[in-house]
């Protein structure tokens, strides 16, 4: 195995309380703390581990997004990734960007950089699409091993344990391949300060959508973004009978 490509998306930090913009066109992102998509951290950790075990010669991280995505790339570099690629897309263009566009970009970069493994997070915690890994495999016509909870290098390729409904599934795949990381794949390291400092010197290549030949014209339109309904306050009922009659009243039981 020679080269691994990982995806790192800049998302609103998991601890931030999301607020919808008053005009319902999206969520408030300005002045809001962002960080690397947690599943991407797991993907990075997996790739860096492969490098440490000499199973990979180089790890490249790709981030698509506004200028601040560079900070996310720096975090990946501080975790041990060798170099970064930033496809800068911002403003309205970025808001309308979909997994179909991103997967084409990953495919193109994987080919240009001669990567034979792509590791992505299973989904991003902002739009929860869970499509990019699958679509990337389709664009490249590579095998896919998604929702990985363990990845092991074998002679001919990979042995991957997948998290599926009701249990685990073990599959083998040839390389090149696309893997998506599930929660239990590993516990990502946090970047140490000296490594953050050293990461400042690692290269980040900046490209545009045009550079990779991907048409980013939106195929969809956002009509309205709304808060989930506010949970009604609960009440304490004195006994089971009251509970049952109340549930019947509300139409929850017949």
């Amino acid at each position: 195995m020679s080269r691994v490509l990982v995806g790192v998306k800049r998302v609103i930090d998991y601890a931030v309380k999301i607020r919808v913009k008053p005009d319902k066109s999206g969520v408030v992102t300005e002045g809001v703390k962002h960080s690397m998509n947690p599943f991407d951290e797991i993907a990075v950790e997996e790739a860096v581990k492969m490098k440490e075990k000499k199973l990979a010669s180089e790890v490249i991280a790709l981030s698509v997004g506004p200028p601040q995505s560079q900070e996310t790339l720096r975090t990946a570099l501080a975790m041990g990734v060798d170099r970064g690629i930033h496809i800068e897309i911002s403003g309205k263009d970025y808001e309308m960007l979909q997994p179909i566009h991103i997967s084409k970009m990953f495919a193109k970069i994987a080919q240009d950089e001669k990567c034979d493994l792509i590791v992505l997070g299973k989904q991003a915690i902002d739009d929860d699409s869970n499509q990019t890994a699958q679509m990337t495999a389709a664009v490249l016509d590579w095998p896919q091993a998604v929702f990985a909870s363990a990845v092991e290098k074998t002679d001919g390729g990979l042995k991957v344990v997948r998290e599926i409904d009701g249990g685990l599934e073990t599959i083998t795949t040839k390389l090149p391949a696309v893997v998506s990381a599930d929660l239990r794949l590993n516990i990502p390291r946090y970047a140490t300060l000296p490594n953050i400092m050293k990461a400042k010197k690692k290269p980040i290549k900046k490209l545009s959508a045009a550079d990779v030949g991907v048409d980013i014209k939106p195929r969809i339109e956002v009509i309205s973004v709304e808060d989930p309904p506010i949970r009604q306050a609960g009440s304490i009922v004195p006994d089971i009978d009251t509970l049952v009659s109340k549930l019947k009243e509300a139409g929850h039981v017949k």
């Binding site: 900070e71 720096r74 946090y190 970047a191 300060l193 000296p194 953050i196 400092m197």
Partner: protein, 629 residues
């Protein structure tokens, strides 16, 4: 008016020995070299706001606009550190366990070394992260939010332990020691205090004698309460040495600073002290028995150790402001969580005025403290050397504000605040030491008041000189005359409204009025007491408190103005807090200054002196209980 100036001038002669006076308060920074009062005159003007406050002048260059020394890249650099440092505290460190075990376990320390936390300000090529003071302070804030004991392990190491090498070390000393202490797992300590010498640090007895061949010093003596004293392998140690005074040809004892390695032999330490707080930080006695120190290990110049010690302490004081800002933030989080969840008498606590006042005061103190601390670090990063009084104020303000905020947070939580699980009781215990070490707040108050008065006095002396040759100095005389005239007839010589955003004008006016009143008080004290002001601690303390309140007003006014000017999303909230602060602080200044002038209160100080004397004679309370048995 002219008579007044003459009177001042007469008394100010007596002020010549003021530097001597300051030396008595020797745990304190000395801003100027003692030997060269004449050379001082030609030196650069002092740009310190607080110094000039004592002359009734607004020296605004270090206050307005709010000094931020970081460019975008430097902000991003430290920004990238915030998450990993926070994660260290949430995932690795356990402050409660550190407190319970009275030590930090090896695994946690290993993580801290890997994290790079021990060499934050050391140059990159020597193994550190090369953070400037503001960046360092930002990380100290996170430490203060989590674990003050661990904060002292880290702070005693780099804020004082090896800071001397950073500030005064030769190239060889830096190359030899900094890689070890920044990334080599070697701990450092700062050893100044001795059993008979705490606040009066110049009176230390440790002694280093030069060997006959001039290649070594032999150090003997002992130090007490040294943070990291039991684990440090490299220490900055202060000891008396015999120094030849070039001018007089006489030999004299003077303090010299040394870099001492435990490996030199003859260095040992006592068991870890059992303490009220910061328990996980090792505090120990350190003994030196015929320790052979190579002459290359003198830090700074021979005989200038006292200055080295004071500048190390000065240089690190802002860090306490940063750290305790974090602590206050934690307290406020806890208090607001509780106030919004707890219902009593049918309503949430947050709806009661009593609770609202507490929370508001807590937030205002946090804001003002943060404004002061970042202002000082900003100025230091911009190359200022005139920040010593400001740093002393920051230390006093931070340690007292944090104590108050933590105490009120506990009060808001009620019984829950007293419980170990809430962690506030640990913060309270940990916080207590901050008013004592690195210069007690009492001594720092005297330092601020006396240094300021000395500065004002020297200015008056210049005015006096001008009168000896009025023809040549008409400009100065007229300037003084008009300044005084306006302030005496109550016009107020100080106008700060032009320095702030228009919407803060009223608050700035309060600050300006305080400065006017303050300067007049300083002048009247000089006239009344001259050199003897040194003995008037009842008055000096009130003067210092006023200086603290005024500097706090000015720094927060500046910060909020910057926020308003840049349309920061929290600007209006900041304005609200500064307005609140200025009303209260200026009122306190008025009251404190009145207590300096008031005959009634001066009578009271005499009473208190008597009460205290009687107690100390009795070593007990003097009165009986009402039933007499």
């Amino acid at each position: 008016m002219f008579r007044a100036i003459n009177k001042v001038a007469k008394n100010s002669k007596a002020l010549k020995n003021q530097t001597e006076v300051i030396r008595c308060l020797s745990a304190q920074p000395q801003t100027k070299s003692k030997q060269t009062p004449r050379a001082e005159k030609a030196a650069k003007p002092n740009l310190s706001f607080v110094h000039n406050l004592f002359r009734g002048q607004v020296e605004s260059s270090q206050v307005f606009p709010y000094p931020i020394a970081l460019n975008q890249e430097q902000i991003e650099y430290v920004g990238a550190f915030v998450d990993p440092v926070s994660k260290f505290f949430s995932e690795v460190n356990n402050a409660d366990r550190n407190d319970m075990n009275a030590q930090v376990d090896e695994e946690t320390l290993k993580h801290l070394w890997e994290l790079g936390a021990f060499g934050l300000q050391v140059p990159q090529e020597l193994g550190g992260l090369e953070l400037n003071n503001t960046q360092y302070g930002r990380l100290a804030e996170i430490i203060g939010m989590n674990d003050l004991g661990l904060g002292i392990v880290i702070g005693a190491h780099q804020s004082i332990g090896f800071k001397g090498i950073l500030l005064y070390g030769t190239k060889e000393q830096k190359e030899k020691y900094l890689p070890k202490v920044s990334s080599g797992g070697v701990y450092a300590a700062f050893a100044l205090t001795e059993p008979s010498s705490g606040s009066d640090a110049a009176s230390i007895k440790c002694r280093a004698v030069k060997s006959a061949d001039g290649k070594h010093y032999i150090l003997n003596g002992s130090k007490i309460w040294i943070s990291n004293g039991g684990i440090a392998d490299i220490m900055t140690v202060f000891a008396q040495t015999e120094v030849l005074d070039e001018a007089t040809g006489q030999k004299k004892d003077k303090v010299t600073a040394f870099i001492v390695e435990r490996g030199f032999g003859g260095v040992s330490n006592g068991p870890p002290e059992k303490k009220m707080g910061i328990k996980c930080s090792n505090t120990a006695e350190v003994y030196f028995e015929d320790v052979k120190i190579p002459v290359e290990n003198v830090l700074g110049k021979e005989g200038e150790g006292f200055k080295v010690a004071m500048n190390i302490l000065n240089n690190g004081r802002f860090g306490m402001g940063m750290t305790l800002g974090g602590t206050m933030r934690y307290c406020i989080q806890k208090a607001t969580d509780h106030a919004t969840q707890r219902t009593q008498f049918g309503k949430k606590l947050e709806s009661y005025g009593g609770i609202q006042e507490k929370l508001a005061r807590m937030s205002v103190l946090q804001y003002v403290n943060q404004s002061i601390a970042y202002m000082i670090s900003g100025n230091m990063d911009l190359g200022s050397n005139d920040y010593h009084l400001e740093a002393a104020i920051s230390k006093v303000f931070a340690s007292e504000a944090a104590w108050y905020v933590c105490d009120e947070a506990i009060q808001i939580l009620g019984g829950m605040g007293f419980m170990r699980d809430t962690q506030l009781e640990r913060f309270m215990r940990d916080l207590r030491i901050f008013r004592i070490f690195e210069g007690t707040n009492d001594i720092l108050r005297l330092f601020v008041a006396l240094t300021g008065i000395q500065y004002a006095g020297s200015h008056l002396k210049e005015v006096q000189k001008a009168f000896q040759n009025p023809a040549a100095n008409l400009g100065l005389i007229f300037k003084e005359a008009s300044k005084r005239a306006s302030s005496y007839i109550g016009l107020g010589g100080v106008d700060m409204t032009g320095l702030v955003e228009p919407s803060l004008k009223n608050s700035a006016k309060l600050c300006g009025e305080s400065i006017d009143m303050f300067a007049r008080t300083v002048e009247s004290l000089l006239i009344k007491y001259g050199k003897k002001i040194v003995d008037e601690q009842f008055l000096l303390n009130r003067l210092a408190d006023s200086a603290i309140d005024i500097y706090a007003m000015a720094s927060s006014l500046s910060r909020a103005s910057s926020a308003l000017k840049s349309n920061s999303p929290t600007a209006d909230f900041e304005k609200l807090m500064v307005e609140t602060w200025c009303v209260e602080a200026s009122d306190r200044v008025r009251i404190n200054l009145r207590k300096i002038h008031s005959a009634e209160f001066n009578e009271n100080y005499k009473r208190m002196s008597v009460i205290s004397k009687k107690l100390c004679e009795a070593h007990d309370i003097v009165h009986n209980n009402p039933i007499g048995v």
